[in-house]
Point group: D2
Chain length 109, copies 4
């Protein structure tokens, strides 16, 4: 019971912070799911840009983490905002999709 | 104290599940940060595809949630896997970036 | 003179074909620049998908060209349609941008 | 005959310019199809960014064309470079794909 409440608190806090941030700036009119999907794709491209000219090996050894942290943060923010438009939780959706992936790709025996 | 442990459990469980899933299928060699960034961008495009021909109003009223749930789940899965390559937590990164955004965009008074 | 006319014909034919195709299907209402930009990004992701799990070497040796041809065609189609909304020509824009790139990145001597 | 030669000249000139530009800067090692596909997706995202917070109507009336021209140019440049890795011509691919689209989506009668 305590554990369930705690998880709720963690996820909900980010959602509530983002709702308040948007409302305080009168940006709600801009945040249609369509626009948020576009913004999400732009943030992901900024993450892709970090790695575009690296070899795979170089990408594994990448250690200028400040830029990467910002981009991961931005992608998570926009994903949370899109999901929140439909009262969905990204982590819960990942868990459900993960179960499907396990069935779709059975492990080698 | 209990709350902190509970949050750890929640986030870590998804990470650990994804690590095990990857290892069980011998896919670790494919999962360089470079490749995962490409895969993330492909999953985001599948989310964008849902809304591309809708008006903003139609995107707000969208109610065929099953496809959307899958795509949000896929984006969250790949974002978690990239972050995990660098021992980063997407929700923590979102919170840190959120603090920066608050300073960058002060609210109207 | 003959050369100029010929180039016009080549580029204009694709534009005119795409305009007629759109009009014949009553899709003009869907083809706002915003929507076409989304569609372009979706088509590019399908091209990215082809290479996402390959090494760079494998991507150089890739020889299942039918899928790639389709995706290059789709990207060119949407790029032409966006450009045409503003009476712009993609090849002309490439030439102008190329001149800028030459100045921005002088060659090693 | 003259027309065919003229079209060749037009398309080939851009390809040849891009090949020389890449060679003069010793960038050939970076330009695997995999990397060029990533770079193409990043450039398309910069085009998407222009329109992300606009309504569809605003995107139709957009008249700050300088940024848009640069982005269309960049997308065309990277598309040409990917296609050239496989000796393909983007406009020719668009025409072939267009024929397929006509069959796939017959017009209303």
């Amino acid at each position: 019971m305590l554990i369930y409440l705690a998880m709720e608190t963690e996820m909900n806090q980010l959602k509530l912070d983002l709702r308040k941030f948007t409302k305080d700036r009168n940006w709600e009119g801009f945040h249609s799911p369509k626009n948020l999907a576009m913004a999400l794709s732009v943030e992901v491209a900024e993450l892709v840009e970090i790695f575009q000219w690296m070899t795979e090996e170089q990408s594994k050894d990448f250690d200028c983490l400040n830029d990467l942290k910002d981009e991961i943060g931005d992608v998570m923010i926009y994903l949370t905002m899109i999901a929140d438009q439909f009262n969905l939780d990204p982590i819960e959706m990942a868990k459900i999709k993960f179960k499907k992936n396990e069935k779709k790709h059975p492990k080698y025996i």
